[in-house]
Every structure is written in structure tokens, then in C-alpha cells.
């Protein structure tokens, strides 16, 4: 497979993120093309034709989301880039924010033109200080160069952009919670319907797309939706940024063409497990996607149809490699502590369920596990599935059930023997 790249197309240097260098690479030509040669409807048509799906986790077709926004309805529309990047294991949007901030801005400007947005936002997680500075610097550069503000490129298109900083909340990466947060409130998710594209920020139609998804728009407009749809696989076109970490020889952010062989990626591109250790399991797309065993990935390719058929998904592209010898009980304990910590408390099944799951796993690790605990973990996960306003209740269940299904014997061993079968190990080098 050729493994074409659309985003990571230039060598990163100390100045490659600047406007001057972005323009030298052909930057902002797609915005010119959109404003001078295309109607907003034509831009939407190209994005729809590209078939691009969301890269934040839900894989929703971008064109279908955009199609809900009605042109010329006389009310303000808003656009928000989701740069919350809170799904553990995910750090791929950080690459765009730090190294290609103008690619995001140009793509957001094209999207704003297409969707008739006067005010756009980037919601960036509060901990991202370095990426925030990079992005805020790029916004100032864009204002000075006339890419933002009124009369962009001498046309009557006008757009302002605010970089909005979160303040430490996982759930604010969920689109409706993100909007509530931009309204200056607690980041509580909202019930749908109405969809956010109908009633979003301050009850106005609002499009929220992930940073990586948006950043593909410049390429789609420059080269056409049809050309994009020819990359990757038919049911999941384009490329994916994958951030890989954990027990892996070469962690980092990689761009792969959808359909790239999973095992080739792990063993050739990323060098396999740390210190040559065999891979026990891979969490493919953020901790909320179901874990795959080292054996399972051999037949899979990196795209949603392939991973969905295997019972998991590409999720947010946050891949975590887990080496042989790792204790899956303590690993699940880390995940459940996290979900418990981050439950916003709005829905009873999640608020109570996360704490319950966490208490059970703590009890097992303390050697006080009971024979019914494994079934109880399954039961609470099932109670959460589909019963909460946002997907977090489901997600914690997926993570739990995914690990229990494949590594149940380790849980049974700990409950029976009151100790880990794998020495309680999380860290790789300790026993290498």
C-alpha cells in the first residue's frame, strides 16, 4: 500500500508552523480557491462527496452533519473545532495545533465560508499551554495578514475566531458539553434532539468537528472531494493520524492511509513492543474502544470497517500498546479510576455506576474480591449502556467489557488467589 499522506507532508522545524512557511508550502491557496471560484453550496458538496468521517471518535460523516445547517435562514451559525483531546491515549491533534496551526485555521475559514459562519471557535483543553500559544500566535498572524476579520482576501466574507480554553474536564470533549462550556457554564452534556446543528451554541445552529477532521478540508477543496474519496478504503476514505504510546518501541504521531495493515504498522513502522517484548494487546482508538489481542490485529487493517467487524473501532486514533506480562486487572483499575474521576454527575447511571465499578476493581486489587464481582462489572456496564445523556457511560462499559471478555482469567485468578497473576505489573522495563 502506498500510504499517501495529506496532513504530515512537511518536515517539522523550529519555524515550520509560521504563516510565512505555511504560505511557502502553498498554504491559504485553498481558501482563495473557495472564496473566488466556489459557492458555499459547492464547498459543502465537495466535503460531502469526499465521504470523510469524523476523526474524534464517533466517525460521523462530516457531509451529513453539515447538510443540516440551512443556508440563508437569517440566523447566526457557529463553528467549533474540538481541540479538547481528552480521550486517554490520544495526542494527535496536538501535532496539528503545534506544527500546522494554519492548516487548521485555513480549513476552518473554508468551513465558515461554506456554513455561513461569522464567528468560529477553537475549544482547546486547559492543560494545553504550549499548543495554545502556538495556535493563538497563528490566529494573530492570520488577523494581521487579513485572513481573519472583515473583508477576507478582498471579498465580502468576514470571520472572527476565538480560541477558547477549557479548564480541566474530560466530558467537555463531548460536543454538547463543549458548547455548554463555551457558554461559560458547567460542561454538562445535553439531550438530543434537537441536534446541535439545529440548536447548539446559544441555541443557534452549530457545527462541531474534530481538529483533524477539519484540517482535511483545505486538501479536499484544493483537490476535490472525489480525489479524497479515492484515498483509503471506500467506506472510510482518507488518512488517519494515529498517536501511539504505551509499550511500543517508537511512540509518536503517524499518518496512515485508511486500510493500512495493522500488524505492519505496529511491527514495522512503530518497531514492535518496547525492548522487543511481544504485544499482548492493543487499545486501538482511545481507552473507550474495545481492546484487541496481539493475535487479533494480525488480520486487521487500520480503518473503521475492519475494526468495527472485529468489535472495536478506530475511535480517536489514540492507540495504546500493551506488552506481554502486563496485569490487565490493574490496567482496568487505572481506566475505571479515570472514568469515576471524570463523570460529570448529571446522569444517575454514570454518576453511581462509575463509582461502583471503581470500588469493585479496587476491592479486587486489595484482595477482597468476591465471586460475583466479575458478573457485577458486566451488569453495571450493561446498565450504563444507552441510559446516559452522553456516551461516557457507554464508553466506560465498552472498556470494561472489552477487557473482561478477553482477559477474564486474570480477574478470576486475582479474586481466587488474592494476588495478580502478573505481579501487578503495569510498567514494562520492571520485569524485562
Amino acid at each position: 500500500m502506498a500510504n499517501r499522506r495529506l496532513l504530515m507532508t512537511f518536515p517539522v522545524t523550529a519555524t515550520s508552523h509560521t504563516l510565512a512557511e505555511y504560505r511557502a508550502r502553498g498554504g491559504y491557496a485553498a481558501l482563495e480557491k473557495a472564496l473566488r471560484e466556489m459557492t458555499p453550496q459547492k464547498v459543502v458538496a465537495e466535503v460531502t462527496a469526499s465521504g470523510i468521517q469524523g476523526r474524534g471518535g464517533a466517525a460521523f460523516p462530516m457531509g451529513r452533519k453539515w447538510a443540516v445547517v440551512q443556508p440563508n435562514d437569517g440566523i447566526p451559525h457557529y463553528l467549533c473545532a474540538n481541540a479538547d483531546e481528552g480521550e486517554p491515549g490520544t495526542f494527535k491533534d496536538r501535532w496539528i495545533l503545534e506544527f500546522a496551526p494554519h492548516l487548521l485555521l485555513e480549513s476552518m475559514l473554508i468551513a465558515s465560508y461554506a456554513l455561513q459562519v461569522r464567528n468560529a471557535f477553537v475549544y482547546i483543553r486547559g492543560e494545553f499551554d504550549g499548543p495554545y500559544r502556538r495556535l493563538a500566535g497563528a490566529v494573530e498572524e492570520a488577523y494581521e495578514a487579513g485572513y481573519l476579520g472583515a473583508g477576507i482576501l478582498g471579498t465580502d466574507f468576514a470571520c472572527d475566531l476565538v480560541v477558547y480554553r477549557g479548564a480541566g474536564s474530560y466530558v467537555c470533549g463531548e460536543a454538547s458539553a463543549l458548547i455548554t462550556s463555551i457558554e461559560g457554564k458547567r460542561g454538562y452534556p445535553r439531550n438530543r434532539p434537537p441536534r446541535l446543528t439545529v440548536r447548539g451554541l446559544y441555541q443557534k445552529p452549530t457545527v462541531i468537528n474534530n481538529v483533524e477532521t477539519l484540517s482535511n478540508i483545505a486538501w479536499i477543496v484544493a483537490n476535490g472531494g472525489k480525489a479524497f474519496s479515492a484515498i483509503g478504503v471506500a467506506k472510510d476514505p482518507g488518512t488517519r493520524l494515529i498517536s501511539i504510546s504505551g509499550h511500543i518501541a517508537r511512540p509518536g504521531v503517524y499518518e496512515v492511509e485508511c486500510g493500512y495493515p495493522f500488524a505492519k504498522f505496529i511491527f514495522e513502522d512503530c518497531g514492535g513492543g518496547t525492548d522487543g517484548r511481544p504485544i499482548k494487546a492493543i487499545i486501538p482508538g482511545g481507552i473507550s474502544t474495545k481492546v484487541l489481542t496481539g493475535k487479533e490485529i494480525e488480520k486487521l487493517t487500520l480503518d473503521n470497517p475492519s475494526l468495527t467487524a472485529a468489535g472495536s473501532s478506530m475511535g480517536s486514533g489514540g492507540m495504546v500498546a500493551i506488552a506481554e506480562g502486563t496485569c490487565m486487572v490493574r490496567l482496568l483499575q487505572v481506566l475505571l479510576r479515570f472514568y469515576h474521576h471524570e463523570s460529570c454527575g448529571q446522569c444517575t447511571p454514570c454518576r453511581e455506576g462509575m463509582g461502583w465499578l471503581h470500588r469493585i476493581i479496587d476491592r479486587i486489587v486489595a484482595g477482597e474480591g468476591r465471586s460475583e464481582d466479575i458478573e457485577r462489572l458486566y451488569q453495571i456496564s450493561a446498565w450504563n449502556d444507552g441510559t446516559t445523556i452522553c456516551g461516557m457511560g457507554d464508553a466506560a462499559g465498552y472498556a470494561t467489557v472489552g477487557i473482561l471478555n478477553k482477559f477474564r482469567d486474570e480477574f478470576e485468578y486475582w479474586i481466587e488467589h488474592k494476588r495478580s497473576r502478573n505481579d501487578g505489573a503495569l510498567e514494562c522495563p520492571r520485569f524485562s
Binding site: 480521550e87 495526542f91 504550549g130 476565538v162 479548564a167 480541566g168 462550556s181 522495563p429
Partner: protein, 154 residues
């Protein structure tokens, strides 16, 4: 907080009209940068400046993990202990800091220099384990690197 109002005015100019409520988070962030935490009088100031309900400001402060209502040590050391950091030694990093500083997570050293905390995923998993000092990420940490880093902190 009053001395920050010219800054708030400039910030406000970038937002559409009618977005006063949105400024709660940015104003509180700026106040905390300035004072180190958000005091009761700051809440009064934000309520008066933005015309939002006091309960909204209180709710925001209690919801978001980064806001503080009390002063902490001069250096805030936050150890990520989510999955990728745990797989790469976050527990050793936390143990090392706990022993070295003689405080547990959530506590401040008696001299008021350091506050130690744990934090969930910082999205720097490729360079785990990560320690956040103030606003700055320190990545691929080892106990040795921590010792060297502590010597450079105020």
C-alpha cells in the same frame, strides 16, 4: 481583580455581542493566573463585570478541575497517572516525588514551595511519563530528571 478589567475589555471585543456569559471561564482563568487562586472578592468582581448569576460562577469553579479556591505552593507538580503514563512508570515517578518532598498527592510542603497532585491524561502519551509543573509539560520523565528539574525551580 479590578486591575485586570482593561484586559477583560480587550478579550470581550473578540466575542460576538451577547456572549458575556462565555467570558466566565476566560476571566476566571486570568484571575487565577494573577492571584494563584480565585478568591471570594474575585467572584463578586466577575459577577459585577459580566452581569451573570453568582451561582453560575460558583458552579464553574467547583466543576472544572483546574480552578482553585485556595492558595497552593509556589510550584504545582502534577503527575499524570493515566494509562500510557502508568505503563511507562508514572507510579515510580509519583513514589519518587512523594518520598523526595515528604508529601502525599494533594498536599503542600511545609515551606510552601511545592504542591503535589495527580492528574488524568494530559495528551502527551507518546512522551510518557509526564509531569506538569505550573503550565509546562515535562515529558519522558525519570527520577534522575526530576531531581535535576527540582533544583531549577524557585
Amino acid at each position: 481583580m479590578k486591575h485586570l478589567i482593561p484586559e477583560f475589555d480587550r478579550m470581550r471585543a473578540r466575542y460576538p455581542k451577547g456572549f458575556e456569559s462565555s467570558l466566565v471561564l476566560p476571566c476566571l482563568r486570568r484571575i487565577q493566573e494573577d492571584r494563584g487562586f480565585v478568591a471570594d472578592e474575585d467572584i463578586d468582581g466577575v459577577v459585577a463585570y459580566l452581569g451573570v448569576p453568582r451561582i453560575q460562577v460558583e458552579e464553574v469553579l467547583s466543576f472544572y478541575g483546574q480552578f482553585r479556591r485556595k492558595a497552593i505552593g509556589r510550584c504545582h507538580l502534577q503527575v499524570c497517572r493515566n494509562l500510557s503514563c502508568s505503563l511507562n512508570g508514572a507510579e515510580r515517578i509519583l513514589d519518587h516525588l512523594t518520598k523526595k518532598l515528604g508529601v502525599k498527592p494533594g498536599e503542600t510542603t511545609a515551606d510552601g514551595r511545592y504542591t503535589l497532585s495527580t492528574v488524568e491524561c494530559l495528551a502527551a502519551c507518546g512522551t510518557a511519563p509526564v509531569l506538569m509543573v505550573g503550565d509546562t509539560y515535562h515529558e519522558s520523565m525519570t527520577p534522575e530528571k526530576i531531581d535535576a528539574l527540582l533544583k531549577t525551580l524557585p
